[in-house]
Point group: C2
Chain length 198, copies 2
DNA sequence: CGTCTATTTGAATGTACTCAAAAGCGGTGG
DNA sequence: CCACCGCTTTTGAGTACATTCAAATAGACG
């Protein structure tokens, strides 16, 4: 049984995107299970097929890829009330490129892929929920491309702080450097420079 | 009345993502209208609210933004059988940041936003079509972020040629430079270098 | 307390940019 | 059909932002 507080968190998230009759909402919540993780725990490995999505309640989780020089790139950071998964692998049923790792001990709700797909037929309004989620994820990813092209590293970092307040003090900074697209060394020098000029 | 060939093109596109009864497919096609455009014609201006999506049949259309230094960034290039719109503006009903411009005289099918939203209630399977489109758009946008972070400009250009075969000979190269994230000057030098080394 | 990882620092390097100017190209009108 | 005009592409020189590599320092965790 899922803690009522966590139930409410997920229901509130859904409610922000779509209106649901109580029956459907109950059914949706009945499909997820709760899971506690430790720091550094891996939820999905590169080359595995993603079978689940995770709704983050507490903690922080990253999804990263390796490029052909074996360098890591942090593609997603998820904290309170965000979904995280390897969408490519989830929709294609092929081995993915993402490793999903907990950066802190975390609490998540787990949605099995198969149940998610079943619900689309049973309750079409839930398909709308995920459509709208996808639309928003798509738009914010486009914004990230635009920012990478048009903003300086300092500006991207300021954006990051607005989007993830306080996260810089919770997780290794090299992951933040990777997320905004710079090396850890440059990130370190940049932060120092920003402090001096403020 | 839409040319049967164009009708088929749209139906085939839908068919790649979702199975539809003939009735629903007919209804869907009845919602779009055909439009011929000239080169340099603007379909949507920055700061206007997007009311339509465009399915490109012939020609080439770009969507670009301006950053705070008034530099253009080509966010989308659409050719045969791609949808293009300002998704942010379309879903939020707020003025957008994209200008959508035809780079060649083009043939498009126009889907009014309002009719698209209506159809979600009438035929839930169409909501699935757009959900799946969004999932794919999202995944390929993530891939673009990854490529921008991990590939050299040359590799990004080779990817571009694979994704848009022959387009380099059809449109001003400065747009391609912008799409892959380099200046026109650098793009020119890079192409020269690649020719020499091959 | 010791070990492992993360961060900082510095020097040298490189990739891509800016600015300016010349050359090329294409469309339009005379 | 040619000549012109405007836009695009090319070229070159100088520059900047960010990287790489190496090493020292700091911090976290068992």
């Amino acid at each position: 049984m899922i803690k009522p507080e966590y139930r409410e968190r997920l229901l509130a998230h859904i409610g922000r995107y779509v209106q649901l009759p109580a029956e459907e909402a109950e059914y949706f919540v009945s499909l997820v299970s709760h899971r506690s993780t430790t720091a550094r725990e891996i939820l999905l490995r590169q080359c595995d097929i993603a079978n689940e999505s995770y709704f983050v309640l507490e903690g922080c989780i990253r999804a990263y890829t390796l490029d052909n020089k074996a360098d890591e790139h942090v593609m997603h950071l998820a904290t309170n009330d965000w979904w995280i998964t390897d969408m490519y692998s989830l929709i294609t049923r092929k081995p993915g490129n993402y490793t999903i790792e907990c950066l802190e001990a975390s609490e998540v709700l787990v949605m099995p892929r198969e149940k998610q797909w079943d619900i689309y037929d049973k309750y079409p309004r839930m398909e709308r929920y995920f459509r709208v989620l996808m639309e928003n994820a798509y738009v914010s990813t486009l914004q990230r491309i635009h920012d990478n092209l048009s903003l300086s590293a300092e500006e991207r970092y300021l954006n990051f702080e607005r989007k993830f307040p306080g996260l810089v003090h919770r997780i290794p900074n090299k992951h933040i450097a990777s997320y905004i697209g710079v090396t850890p060394e440059f990130f370190s020098k940049m932060k120092k420079r920003m402090l001096k000029n403020s």
